[in-house]
């Protein structure tokens, strides 16, 4: 199910403000790609442009190409809703739907789209996705309880289960652990290791250890100053980025000697 993404010459705007400039990158299937860089350099903006969530913000637009599996996501006639079905997303703050039970949260992608499922099919999807998100054991006996009653780490894994229940080809994660404690973080990192067998994963993180622990390739974004656009400075195998980067700024950043 996992696919390669090719981004070429992507400019991302908020109205007339150019937030991210000329990004060209290749995201390999069945691997984890980490995006690192200082705050405000456009990591989230870039990530959200990969599933056309960027344009949800009024005035926001992009120029350039994002090609998934040979298909330009921004090509004419491409439905953003369909793009989001194949490129799933997990947000920084866990946000299960407050009106739904754990069970319904997992099925949200189908229920909200009015897809009818037999009870047995629905049960199977819920169990499969919760197992995939490493949450099944903890919640199997309280599936009918509200999702908002879980701990932060459990809620985040519920959101991951919800995202993989619609079987996307790519999973985008924007600082998925930054609101979580170290133990939940570890649980999610383990989970990412499992998920990359099936999905193409792109993760934004502020945590350098996390990037080096989980990712196969790392891209470093930087910004020259406020008001300037963010740029992809360098992208390479994670080991190379952390041990022997080719750009000075990358080395300064990953070694904590920044600015």
């Amino acid at each position: 199910m996992s696919r390669q993404i090719d981004v070429s010459d992507l400019d991302i705007y908020y109205g007339s403000f150019l937030a991210v400039e000329k990004v060209t990158m290749e995201i390999k299937p069945r691997s984890i790609t980490a995006l690192i860089g200082p705050s405000g350099c456009g990591k989230s903006t870039f990530l959200r442009s990969l599933n056309r969530m960027h344009e949800v913000i009024p005035g926001a637009r992009v120029e350039g190409k994002v090609v998934l599996d040979g298909q330009d996501l921004y090509g004419p006639g491409v439905d953003p809703v369909a793009v989001r079905r194949s490129v799933g997303m997990v947000f920084q703050n866990p946000n299960p739907f407050p009106t739904m039970s754990i069970y319904d949260n997992v099925l949200a992608g189908m229920r909200l789209n009015n897809k009818r499922l037999k009870r047995s099919e629905a049960d199977a999807v819920v169990e499969h996705s919760l197992r995939g998100a490493n949450l099944w054991k903890e919640v199997q006996d309280r599936l009918d309880r509200p999702g908002a009653g879980l701990s932060g780490g459990q809620q985040q894994r519920l959101c991951i289960a919800r995202a993989i229940a619609v079987q996307p080809q790519v999973l985008l994660m924007d600082e998925p652990c930054s609101a979580l404690d170290p133990i939940s973080t570890l649980a999610i990192e383990d989970l990412m290791g499992e998920l990359k067998k099936e999905y193409t994963i792109v993760i934004v993180t502020h945590n350098m250890q996390q990037a080096s622990r989980v990712s196969d390739r790392t891209g470093f974004f930087n910004i020259e100053g406020t008001g300037k656009p963010g740029k992809l400075v360098e992208m390479d195998a994670t080991d190379t980025i952390f041990s022997n980067p080719s750009v000075k700024a990358t080395e300064d950043y990953v070694s904590g000697r920044f600015g």
Binding site: V81, F97, L112, R145, V166
Partner: protein, 380 residues
């Protein structure tokens, strides 16, 4: 600032030591304004019954003034209040110190303001209950005024009229109001149309209710010709008053639905309209429901617009599209304005109608709370 490497003078220019240095006037000022030690700020406090005692003193003083002298009751109350508060504050000042005394003083003022604000409400409820109970009987709820000349009869026809007309008004207002709010919050953004709509809604909020009645009358006169009095005319008039309230309430509720819920729905590949219908509205449902119920309560007691649009009749009419209808406020109005013989029977019916309206509004408000709690998202 010294760098970590030069060890020579480090202790001298550590920022913490600058507090007493003569070159730093700021530090000198700060030293003078050092907070008192915790031990020095400890003090005794007044017993819990001090407030009650002070209130009792005030009441006693007022009562004594009324009993012994011949000053006006109002003046006695004011003097009693001043004496009570003064005693309270002085006692606090002596025992607890200045800051606590200020706190006590303001607390006393706020409490008295609350009591003053409550007085009219208590008085209205008391008067209505005591006078309305006379006819609060079975017949009042089951009989109309059909063929009733003097005593007896009831407001069954008016109760039904009120329920039907506000019901139809709700059916008109809730969809229009909700859809308008959805447009404003979810689609309009800052565009010109939504600014115009917001402005018009503001204007509508301020429309005097009689104008709403005349609008409906004029509208139906234009369409049907003069002389019509229909239940639905009243419903339209009430809708004019109700729609802006519903728009405001729903708008507020939709705006507090977190954007991240919408985004996580979009991220699952759910189209916008389904997101609104299945995520935003259910999340806001509890607030919307209570807003709507409060809007109903707000228009239920309207008299003027119904007076000019639905008129009055003595018999029960269930059909809002044909003929006059009775409603409680108009019924109460005519009973008390044009009493027959014996007059007391008419006056009693008016008070009971008023009592019933208050009860309706109370039930609706309590219902709104219950509904809000029942529909609110749960965490357990």
């Amino acid at each position: 600032m010294s760098s970590p490497n030069d060890t020579g003078t480090r202790t001298e220019d550590r920022p913490g030591d600058g507090r007493t240095s003569p070159e730093d006037p700021g530090a000198a000022v700060l030293t003078r304004y050092q907070p008192p030690s915790l031990a020095a700020s400890m003090h005794a406090s007044l017993p819990r019954w001090a407030g009650a005692a002070a209130s009792a003193l005030g009441v006693l003083v007022a009562a004594a003034l009324v009993a012994v002298t011949d000053v006006h009751v109002a003046l006695a109350v004011v003097v009693g209040a001043v004496v009570g508060v003064a005693a309270f504050v002085v006692a606090s000042r002596v025992v607890e110190g200045e800051r606590a005394a200020t706190d006590r003083f303001v607390t006393a003022l706020v409490t008295m303001a609350f009591v003053v604000a409550l007085l009219p409400l208590v008085s209205v409820v008391w008067t209505t209950v005591s006078r309305g109970l006379a006819r609060f009987d079975g017949a009042f709820f089951t009989q109309s005024m059909y063929n009733v000349i003097g005593e007896g009869g009831g407001a069954y026809h008016a109760i039904m009229g009120t329920l039907i007309i506000t019901g139809v008004a709700t059916l008109i207002s809730v969809p229009i109001g909700t859809l308008t709010a959805i447009y404003l919050v979810e689609y309009g953004g800052d565009n010109r149309l939504s600014k115009v709509i917001t402005f018009l809604v503001d204007v509508m909020t301020g429309i005097p209710s009689i104008v709403a009645g005349l609008f409906s009358l004029a509208l139906f006169t234009l369409v049907l010709g003069p002389g019509y009095r229909l239940g639905v005319m009243g419903s339209v008039a009430l809708s004019v008053l109700m729609i802006p309230i519903v728009v405001r309430a729903v708008e507020e509720m939709l705006r507090i639905v977190p954007a991240r819920l919408r985004e996580s729905s979009y991220a699952l590949g759910v189209p916008k309209w389904l997101t609104i219908v299945k995520v935003v509205l259910p999340t806001a449902a509890s607030g919307i429901a209570s807003g709507v119920v409060i809007a109903i309560a707000r228009v239920m007691g309207e008299t003027a617009p119904l007076l000019v649009t639905v008129g009055l009749t003595a018999s029960t009419n269930f059909n809002p599209f044909e003929g006059r209808m009775a409603v409680l406020p108009v019924f109460a109005y005519y009973q008390i304005i044009t009493p027959g013989i014996p007059p007391q029977a008419f006056i009693d019916r008016a008070w009971t109608s008023a009592l019933l309206l208050i009860l309706f509004v109370m039930v609706l408000n309590v219902g709104a709370r219950v509904l809000a709690r029942a529909l609110a998202p749960k965490t357990r």
